[in-house]
């Protein structure tokens, strides 16, 4: 695979500029309804993806994609600002290493503070799910009385 020129004209995402390959992706997407990632949950998913061990950015994206059976739509590029921000918070550390494909890659590792943060976020998420569940399972007729 030739080196990809990432400094070239950036793609603007979906819309009139979508290429043939993009259309191909869209076709695939039609077959499976994907859920947009709920705001604020990306950090939790990234932290969770690193519980098993250090991982590079693409590995994180791939893990989320495979774990959710490609159900979640994540713009992979958005992982990097999140990873850097979390590193700044001290939840992650990073170091350069060599990937499986024998290429230089930056590996992110969860810190103790990151594990604590994950715990907090999971707890908050469970509470949210529980609250939404209660709303959805409530009897509207009873509520009116």
């Amino acid at each position: 695979m030739a080196c990809i020129d990432i400094l070239g004209e950036p793609l603007k995402g979906r819309g009139p500029r979508v290429s043939e390959a993009g259309k191909l992706m869209a076709k695939k997407a039609k077959t499976k309804r994907k859920a947009d990632l709920l705001q604020g949950t990306l950090d939790m998913l990234i932290l969770k993806s690193l519980v098993a061990g250090a991982q590079h950015g693409y590995g994180v994206a791939k893990w989320i994609q495979e774990t959710t059976s490609d159900s979640l739509t994540i713009e992979e590029g958005s992982l990097y600002p999140a990873l850097h921000r979390m590193q700044k918070h001290g939840w992650l550390t990073s170091e350069w290493g060599v990937s499986d494909s024998n290429r230089k890659a930056r590996f992110y590792r969860l810190t103790r503070s990151g594990r604590a943060q994950l715990k907090k976020e999971v707890h908050a998420w469970e509470q949210l799910v529980s609250a939404i569940g209660m709303v959805l399972n409530s009897n509207i007729a009873e509520a009116k009385q």
Binding site: M1, P10, E76, G77, P81, G90, S99
Partner: protein
Amino acid sequence: MNLLAKLKELSDYVNTPLLVNAEQARNELKDEIEFHLESSAKDQLRSGLSVDESVQVAKERFGDVSAVVRECDQVFGSGLMFWHRLHQCITVALVAAVGWLGWYVMGLQEKFADTNLVAATGYSIRSTDGDLRGDVIGEDGRPVSSAHVLAVVKSWPPNGYRQQSYMTTTGKDGTFEIRDVYSPNHDYEVQVSAIQNGCESHCKCGDRARSGLTISKFHSPVKQPAPQQNKRPRSKTRWTSK
């Protein structure tokens, strides 16, 4: 943010200049993105897409590279910018402190220099606090205003002799005052003359004038000097402390 992360950030900032840090971070990010796109394109290639399509899909999935770089720059900058701003504030505070210190020291020097200024008498101003005061009275016994008063002060500091003249005018009540004319710690002699409308009066130690004006109530200095030993011969009108 925990303390360790903040310390590491500070260490990064201290170890390399902000611009170098930013450039390094940008290059590392580019490497990261490049690796991501390559890996993603390889996976797409394995799934049966052509090379071009693989690259295109990888880019599609990744999103706007420049936006990602911009966002990461902001994350990076927000960290080091904190230290940069702090650095700037400390620098400004230091410059202000040095400026203030310089101003203060100059003030002190001026003050110190003031105390060492030499008065017209040749003494330092600090030690020259003998004042001359007196009244000028006309023949009719009334105070004479606006009379010109000339005082000649002679003094004998150790191993020397000084003579200085002073001039002033009398006030409405006929009084005059000349401040800081000699050091009361040394022997001295004062001669005073007053001139008004052609009338002239000379006085030594309160002598009566020969004609016209009279200089009266000619006061001795505020501070009385200590008695001096080994006085030099001088005029009989010389004032010495009692």
